[in-house]
Every structure is written in structure tokens, then in C-alpha cells.
């Protein structure tokens, strides 16, 4: 247990009345302070039940629940919930109350004074990207689905809880808006650093939102819990492999960046007006069919085929073809791959922050990076096994 466990479930069980098979069976789980832990798994595996056990919307039939090392299994559930933000797919805005009144729900219950509540409402609307003057006095039916979900998040943040529980918060929203809400939420989280448990059945959403992902099987059994990159690099069993599905290798490229693991290669370059013979020689030596033409600020501008450089002709600024694809240092290997696929020379030129040429990414770099990530993950799990 490296960072602090903000939430700790200790052998938590839930068997619904009238059923024999538990919906959640002996689940032990730690959620670290400031992280987003995503619970993901097939429908009916007990994700929502697990989430609702944490704020005691459902009473556990066994085990203990700790927040900040305080046993909350038996404390007053209503008071407990006022400390925990809760966002659900149905949003559940109160239709007979204005947006402001909705957001004020928990602060008012906690007895905040009026001025503080009003200020908080405006703050939160701004945080979720809604103009307070426009939206404060509207009723929920006057909002679009995306706006309503933003208000749902603002309301959950109402009294600045340290913990947020989110059950498929973006599940009922169209893909484009969902993508935007996810990005906005991630950037809000960057500042707020809440401890978040996030439920989804969409592995891509899990990979995008999670600092860590817990892949759950039947009865909320944890099949694998780890960072998205490690899960993608090393699914522990067939269940997990099936669940993350096709293309997990490609998805893994999202977590590798151009600077960290990739040793970039030099590439034959030349400047306008330079003697082509030397450039051709460099290209021969490097085994490339192209030379990258740089302008006087060292920005990559054109791909010039070696075959155009014969016969002593000089290179002008319109030789070859324009460089359309390039990536910056720090971009993900996924972006590098995309650029590579559309690049004339089948490599992605990498530029520094000032736009000057730094090197190129080739397919072999991606291959190496992925293999390294897999090896590291495998070693990590071998080590875990050895120590346990």
C-alpha cells in the first residue's frame, strides 16, 4: 500500500434479500487519495452494488468499510452521504427546483450561510463550464442532456466532498458530448484531486478515465486491478483479455510517449541550397529513400526523394512533397503511429517545442516500446507472485 488509502473495503459482502448468490462476494479494495479508480465489468457483475455499498445506499451483509481509516460501516448513513459526492446515469436533477437550488442541496443541509452557498453555486457552474448568469435560475427541463449532466456533477461537488462516486455518469450521452464531458471532467479533476470511484461497462472509458482500473467478474470478484497501461500490456487471464478485447496493443500506445521510452533516430536532412551529393551519401548510409528538407529555422518542411537528387541539380523549396505529418516531443506513440501512417516516408518526424527537427519515430520504435511495456508488466506480476 504505497499511497494513502482513502477508501478501504474489507471483505465486503452483499446478498440481496430473497437471493442466494451474493451480488458482491468478499470484496477487498483500496482506493488511494486523489485517484480515479474505475470499476469495469460486464453487465450485472455488481459494479453498481459495489459503488452503492461505499455510501451505504445499500447496507452490506458482511465486511467493513473504512473512509480515512474511520470505520463507517455503522455510522449514520445520511450524514455519511453528505460527505460523499454521488453522480448517477439518470442524473436525477430535481425538476421542481432551479439549477441553483439543485446545487445548493447539500450545502443547505450542512447549514452553510446564504452568501457562501450563492458563491459556491457560481463557482461550481463555472467549474463545469456553464455560465452562472445564464443557467442559475433555469429549471432542469430547460437543459440539454450534456448540460444536465454537468449540473449533476456540480451538484455532487456541492459541499466540496473529498470522495466522489460516479455510476456510469456519461452513459446516456451521445458519443461526441461524452468525449467532451470526459475531457472536461479530467481537467477539473486535475485541479480538484478528489478520490473518485467511477463505474462504467465501457473499457475505453475506463482506460481513458482511470488512474487505475479494477476489472470485475461475477459477484464483483476482482479479476485484475492495475494501471490501464499494465492491464493493456499484461492481461492476467482470458477473462480480462476477452474483456479488453481487440486492439489492446494499439490502445497501449496511448500510454507511451515520444520522449520517455523511445530512443529517437537521426534522419538524413539537408537545407535549401545545400549540395545534394553529400545528402545523397547520407541517405545511402542511413538506408533511406528520402531526405528531409529543413528550412533555416530547422523546421522540417519537405520530403525529397533521393532519386530527385541525382545529376547535381540543386534543391529548391518546392522539391519533393510537403511534410504533412509530424508530432511533438511528448506526444503519445498512438499519435506518432497515426502520423506515421499518413507520412510520405512512413516515419513520423518529431519536433521540439520550437518546431525544430529532433528525430523520427519508426515502426520499430513502437514495436520496442510495446514489447518493453509487456516485459515490465510481466516482470511486475512475476514479482508480485514471488512475494505473495
Amino acid at each position: 500500500m504505497s499511497p494513502d488509502a482513502k477508501i478501504r473495503l474489507d471483505h465486503v459482502e452483499k446478498t440481496y434479500p430473497g437471493t442466494k448468490v451474493p451480488a458482491v462476494e468478499s470484496l477487498s479494495l483500496e482506493v488511494y487519495e486523489g485517484e480515479i479508480l474505475v470499476l469495469v465489468g460486464p453487465s450485472g457483475c455488481g459494479k453498481s452494488t459495489t459503488l452503492r455499498l461505499i455510501n451505504r445506499m445499500i447496507e452490506p451483509t458482511g465486511g467493513r468499510i473504512y473512509l480515512d481509516d474511520e470505520d463507517v460501516t455503522k455510522v449514520n448513513a445520511d450524514k455519511l452521504r453528505r460527505r460523499i459526492g454521488y453522480v448517477i446515469q439518470q442524473i436525477g436533477l430535481f425538476p421542481h427546483q432551479t439549477i441553483a437550488q439543485n446545487i445548493a442541496t447539500v450545502p443547505k443541509m450542512l447549514g452553510w450561510d446564504k452568501a457562501k452557498v450563492a458563491e459556491r453555486i457560481d463557482r461550481l457552474l463555472t467549474v463545469v463550464g456553464l455560465d452562472p448568469d445564464t443557467y442559475r435560475d433555469r429549471y432542469p427541463k430547460e437543459l440539454s442532456g450534456g448540460q444536465a449532466q454537468r449540473v449533476g456533477v456540480a451538484r455532487a461537488l456541492g459541499a466540496d466532498p473529498e470522495i466522489m462516486l460516479m455510476d456510469e455518469p456519461f452513459g446516456a450521452i451521445d458519443p461526441i458530448t461524452r468525449d467532451r464531458l470526459q475531457n472536461e471532467f479530467l481537467s477539473v479533476q486535475e485541479d480538484l484531486r478528489k478520490t473518485i470511484v467511477f463505474v462504467t461497462h465501457d473499457i475505453d472509458e475506463a482506460i481513458k478515465m482511470g488512474d487505475r482500473i479494477a476489472i470485475l467478474g461475477d459477484r464483483s470478484h476482482i479479476r485484475q486491478i492495475d494501471t490501464p497501461e499494465r492491464i493493456l500490456a499484461f492481461p492476467v487471464d482470458d477473462f480480462v483479455r476477452d474483456f479488453i478485447g481487440e486492439g489492446s496493443t494499439l490502445k497501449g500506445l496511448h500510454f507511451e510517449t515520444v520522449d520517455e521510452h523511445v530512443t529517437l533516430e537521426p534522419y538524413p536532412t539537408m537545407h535549401v541550397g545545400e549540395d545534394p551529393t553529400a545528402a545523397v551519401a547520407r541517405a545511402r548510409e542511413a538506408g533511406t529513400d528520402w531526405v528531409l528538407l529543413l528550412d533555416d529555422q530547422e523546421h522540417p518542411t519537405r520530403w525529397v526523394p533521393v532519386s530527385d537528387l541525382g545529376g547535381g541539380s540543386t534543391v529548391s523549396s518546392d522539391s519533393g512533397s510537403e511534410v504533412v505529418a509530424k508530432v511533438s516531443l511528448g506526444a503519445t506513440l498512438f499519435e506518432a503511429l497515426e502520423q506515421m501512417l499518413i507520412s510520405e516516408a512512413a516515419v513520423s518526424p518529431v519536433v521540439r517545442e520550437d518546431g525544430s527537427f529532433y528525430g523520427v519515430v519508426r515502426l520499430t520504435h513502437l514495436n520496442k516500446a510495446i514489447r518493453r511495456a509487456r516485459l515490465e508488466a510481466r516482470e511486475h506480476y512475476a514479482q508480485l507472485e514471488a512475494t505473495s
Binding site: 460527505r83 454521488y86 446515469q89 439518470q90 436525477g92 421542481h96 442541496t105
Partner: protein
């Protein structure tokens, strides 16, 4: 749904007045793809309702009916040309006015009793642990509703004897069901997600009931009360059968003496009372409906 141009225009004006579009977004620009909620096309009938045509016209119609009755009453020549039995049956200060107040008293108290009993009962039957008895309770009450009102009055007569109290109690029992059923339907109709959100934020069950469920159920509950009230006003016409008085006395005298004038005055008065209270109910439903719903 087809709609002629003229009707469409009428409806459109009504919407402009009563249901202004939310102002356009001077928004941060972050919402280009969040589609704004769109207005559903409404039938002519619904649009007429949105314009409150009924609400505005009803008082006029009631006033006209009242005026007509007044003129008719004056034209009868009571105390002069009219037969003496008619004159005495239709005397305002000793017959009609006391009967009218009696009639209203019966309807008022039976409705009050209905509300006081049915709403808490409806709440209880939608909570744990009584929740599961709710459907059984309502279907029993439904069966009870099939009992003729007349029979109910007689049963209560044998139980409680003659008099106003008996009538009030019998009517309250008779009109209980609409309010009970609407209370339960109204509370059950509140979206589960809304309740879940309320509970999830740490509202107690009581807070969810009083701040969320009841306000949202108000329109449905009010509709039930309105039905009960109208039932009671109508049923109070039978009160005379067990010595409860009311405008039913005049109507029965008219029937007995075969004097259509008496019959007409009595029944028109009942109609005016019923229509007036129905209108009050409609106004209440409109203005007590929570905003935003």
C-alpha cells in the same frame, strides 16, 4: 397529427404567452453539440389547454348560468301568480339558502376528511414496510367503489342513525378512493433516479418525501382531490334521504309535487355549485403545480 394553419397559429400564440422558450445561449461556446430540448408539436386540444381557454371561459359560463337562473326565478312570480306549494318550496331565505349552505357544509367536511385520511394513508402505503399491501388495498377499495352510493348511505344510516354527521362520514368513505389512488400513483410516479439522487446526497427519507416526492406529486394528488370534491357535491344531493338536508330536498320536492319549475331551480343550483368548485379545483391545479414541471 394533422393541424390546419389557423389552429396552428392559435396554438402558437398561446405558446408564446405561456411557455416562452428559454433565452438563447450566450454560452461559452462549449455546447455546440448539446442539442437544446425541442418542443413537441401539440394537438389543437392540448394547445387550447395551454392557453387555459377552459379556465378563462368557465367563470363566464357559470356566471351566465347564474344570471339565467336568477331571471328565471324572478319570472316565476313566486308569492303572486305561482302556486303556493311552489312559493314555499322555492323560498330563498327559509329553503334554498339554508339548503345551499347545508349542501356546501356536507361537501366541505367530507372532502376535508377525505384529504386528511387519504393522503397520509397513500403516503404510508407507498413506504416500507406497508408498500407491498398498497396494490391489494387499492383493489379492495376499487371493489368498494362499485357499491351504489345509495347503499352506502343506508349502511351508514343503520350504523350511525340519521343526520348530517352520518352523511359526511358516508360521503368521505365514498370519495376516499380517488384521493388515495392518486396520492399513491403520484408518489410512485416520481422518477426513481430523482429519489436515488436525493438519498445519495444524504437527504433523509422524510426530506425526500416532503421536499421531492410530495411537491412532484402535487398535480396528481390535486386532481384526485378535485374528483373527490365533485363527487361529494353531487352525492350531497342524496343527503336528504337520511335527513341530512342539502339541495336534494328541493329536487325531491319538485319530483314529488311534479313541479318542473322547482326541479329546475334545484338542479341548476347544484350544477352551478359543482361547476364553480370544479373551476376552483382547476385553478388550484394550475397554480399549485410546482414550477419547472
Amino acid at each position: 397529427m394533422s393541424m390546419t394553419g389557423a389552429q396552428g397559429r392559435i396554438g402558437y400564440e398561446g405558446q408564446e404567452k405561456d411557455n416562452p422558450e428559454p433565452p438563447p445561449d450566450p454560452n461559452t461556446g462549449s455546447d455546440a453539440t448539446d442539442a437544446a430540448p425541442t418542443e413537441q408539436p401539440a394537438s389543437w386540444f392540448l394547445r387550447a389547454r395551454e392557453m387555459n381557454l377552459g379556465l378563462k371561459l368557465a367563470p363566464v359560463a357559470i356566471a351566465l348560468l347564474g344570471l339565467g337562473l336568477f331571471l328565471y326565478y324572478r319570472s316565476l312570480g313566486l308569492g303572486t301568480t305561482a302556486p303556493s306549494s311552489q312559493t314555499s318550496a322555492l323560498e330563498w331565505s327559509t329553503k334554498l339558502w339554508p339548503q345551499l349552505t347545508q349542501h356546501l357544509t356536507i361537501a366541505f367536511w367530507s372532502t376535508i376528511i377525505v384529504v386528511v385520511i387519504a393522503i397520509p394513508l397513500g403516503i404510508a402505503l407507498t413506504r416500507e414496510p406497508l408498500r407491498r399491501y398498497g396494490p391489494a388495498f387499492v383493489s379492495t377499495a376499487n371493489a368498494g367503489q362499485a357499491l351504489p352510493a345509495y347503499g352506502l348511505l343506508i349502511i351508514f344510516l343503520t350504523l350511525m342513525g340519521q343526520g348530517l354527521t352520518t352523511v359526511v362520514v358516508a360521503l368521505a368513505v365514498y370519495a376516499l378512493l380517488p384521493v388515495l389512488r392518486n396520492t399513491m400513483v403520484g408518489l410512485d410516479g416520481v422518477d426513481r433516479g430523482i429519489i436515488e439522487a436525493g438519498r445519495g446526497m444524504g437527504m433523509t427519507r422524510g426530506q425526500v418525501l416532503t421536499r421531492i416526492e410530495l411537491p412532484l406529486a402535487v398535480p396528481v394528488i390535486l386532481a384526485g382531490i378535485r374528483v373527490a370534491m365533485i363527487l361529494n357535491i353531487g352525492m350531497a344531493t342524496l343527503a336528504f334521504l337520511i335527513g341530512g338536508g342539502g339541495l336534494g330536498v328541493t329536487i325531491s320536492v319538485g319530483l314529488k309535487l311534479q313541479q318542473n319549475e322547482v326541479l329546475l331551480v334545484g338542479s341548476t343550483l347544484v350544477a352551478i355549485v359543482a361547476l364553480s368548485f370544479d373551476w376552483v379545483g382547476a385553478v388550484a391545479e394550475k397554480y399549485l403545480r410546482p414550477r419547472g414541471v
